[in-house]
């Protein structure tokens, strides 16, 4: 199964019953899987007329209480930012998969990680965050998508699966674990629009014109974001105990970095890997006892780098290796760079 299909399958297994999407490479396998399998679940699949329409359809389905999802790739995700901002303001749970490709502009269809800023900061207007989860395998594409639905419901927030064209297209075996069942909808959505029988009317909105009301909402959102930052940091560590140089990489880049760690360890170099799984919240806790040196590796020109620098605040040396626009830093490039740092 491809990474894209694993995301779609996970969504259906998690009880997602509404999907709206628009064709864009390299995420089309996800849409195709949904169009093939959503009907079996008596759910709704819509090929929308536009990315903007797709995210707003998701807004409506989520407002009506359904687990809802859309997916796209970088230029399409830019178009969806309007809807994502409204989803944040209206505090709706929704899942959005971004199978990143090269930018800016139309860019190309090669894998990239250059939407990190857009995903982890407020990609649209206003003070908000989305949960951002970054899989590094087909298995994790499945597992994190289930988690994304669970967290979206729990925090009434958008959750973004930040994958890339390589992971999305790659085929790997997938083991569907039984605990996936616990990812089924459990949260009671008494705020949802279902018709006001037996209760006062519900309103889903992000508009607060009266003086002070919007600030109140924003303070509530900030409280929620603080809680998420406390509870939802996720990362993986590889051989960090004695590491002199720690590679920091996520997604596809972490797979290549893992290969480099293996080669370098075989040569007796004390090198480890820190792989952020949640990009927002950024796993700051993983840097609590800083090692001597960090090398951040990205398929961008240094976006997650800023979070590492902000976290370490000068307490350790931070180096960077990155390429974007079709180029993926190779294992050899990483090894050369590490050797330089290690000996320097």
């Amino acid at each position: 199964m491809t990474g894209n299909e694993a995301i779609a399958k996970a969504a259906l297994d998690a009880g997602c019953r509404f999907y709206a999407g628009y064709p864009i490479t390299p995420q089309n396998e996800l849409t195709a899987y949904m169009s093939n399998h959503m009907q079996d679940k008596a759910g709704v699949f819509i090929q929308a007329e536009a990315e903007v329409a797709a995210i707003n359809m998701v807004f409506g389905a989520a407002a009506a209480g359904a687990r809802a999802m859309t997916s796209s790739s970088s230029p399409g995700i830019s178009l969806k930012q309007e809807g994502i901002s409204y989803i944040a303001g209206a505090e709706l749970p929704a899942v959005i998969a971004n199978i990143m490709r090269g930018g800016p502009g139309l860019g190309n269809i090669a894998p990239a990680q250059s939407d990190y800023f857009q995903a982890t900061r407020s990609g649209g207007h206003g003070d908000y965050h989305c949960l951002v989860l970054a899989p590094a395998s087909v298995q994790e594409s499945y597992d994190l998508t289930g988690l994304a639905f669970e967290l979206a419901d729990k925090y009434r927030s958008a959750a973004i699966i930040l994958s890339d064209g390589l992971l999305g297209q790659m085929m790997e075996p997938l083991l569907v674990k039984p605990q996936a069942a616990s990812r089924k909808p459990q949260v009671k959505k008494d705020w949802a629009l279902t018709g006001c029988a037996g209760r006062p009317a519900n309103v889903v909105k992000s508009f607060y014109l009266k003086e002070g009301d919007l600030e109140k909402l924003n303070l509530e959102l900030q409280k929620k974001y603080k809680e998420i930052q406390q509870k939802e940091q996720r990362w993986e560590e590889l051989l960090l105990d004695d590491a002199k140089v720690v590679l920091v990489a996520y997604g596809t880049m972490a797979r290549i970095a893992r290969g480099a760690v293996k080669v370098l360890r075989a040569k007796g170099k004390k090198v480890g890997l820190l792989r952020p799984i949640s990009l927002w919240p950024f796993p700051r806790k993983a840097f609590a006892q800083p090692k001597k040196k960090y090398l951040v590796i990205e398929m961008s020109y240094g976006q997650m780098l800023e979070d590492v620098q902000l976290t370490l605040c000068g307490k350790a040396g931070v180096e960077f290796l990155g390429r974007s626009g079709g180029g993926v830093p190779s294992e050899e490039e990483i090894i050369t760079k590490v050797n330089k740092i290690y000996n320097g």
Binding site: G60, E82, A90, V203
Partner: protein
Amino acid sequence: MDKIYSRPRSLRNVPTHYCPGCGHGLAHRLIAEVVDELGIRERVIAVAPVGCAVVAYDYWDFDCSEAAHGRALAVATGIKRVRPQNIVFTYQGDGDLAAIGTNETIHAANRGENLTVFFINNAVYGMTGGQMAPTTLLNQKTSTTPAGRNAKFQGYPLKISEMLALLPGVKYIERVALSGTPEIIQAKKAIKKALLNQMQGAGFSLVEMLSPCPTYWGLSPQESLEWIKNTMAKEFPLGVIK
């Protein structure tokens, strides 16, 4: 003595923010009356627009969603598809439905979504200060066409109802006016038909209401009603379009 006229159950007992002579209050009330008469208040989910009627959910007493400017029919599609048992309608102005949301409007209609649309055409953007709308008449002065709309530079009033009527997915479109008692009685009939269509699963229905905006037409409320009858309805003829 029998009480023969009172506030509809579907309308909250609050003052509206609308200007004197504005058509929105009337349109809200007509919809609320019909919702009551059809006994569907507890099934309704309305989608409010961006524009003067942005807080319509403060006036109606049934479930409502906001939608970003122009996106009401995308939001309504999402709601109706996951809750087909509910009665879902959008309430949209001319800028919302026929400018920034043209794409959403055309494609929801073309999919034949089983939705109802209440389209308030007052030929200006009210909320933002009386700018030119897609439905602004030729020579009509607005804050962005100070010399009057000139076809050479600003194109022509957009007849989106006639355009939508071409689509096979559309069941019913009627243009009515909130300009006088007989017209208002006809408007209410059209509102009822459009909601009944949805209840019967007949598909996409739209009621366009020519609605007064005295503030940005620079006319008195009374003159505004006359302007609808004598000028606006010439460009946008009343009646069943489909």
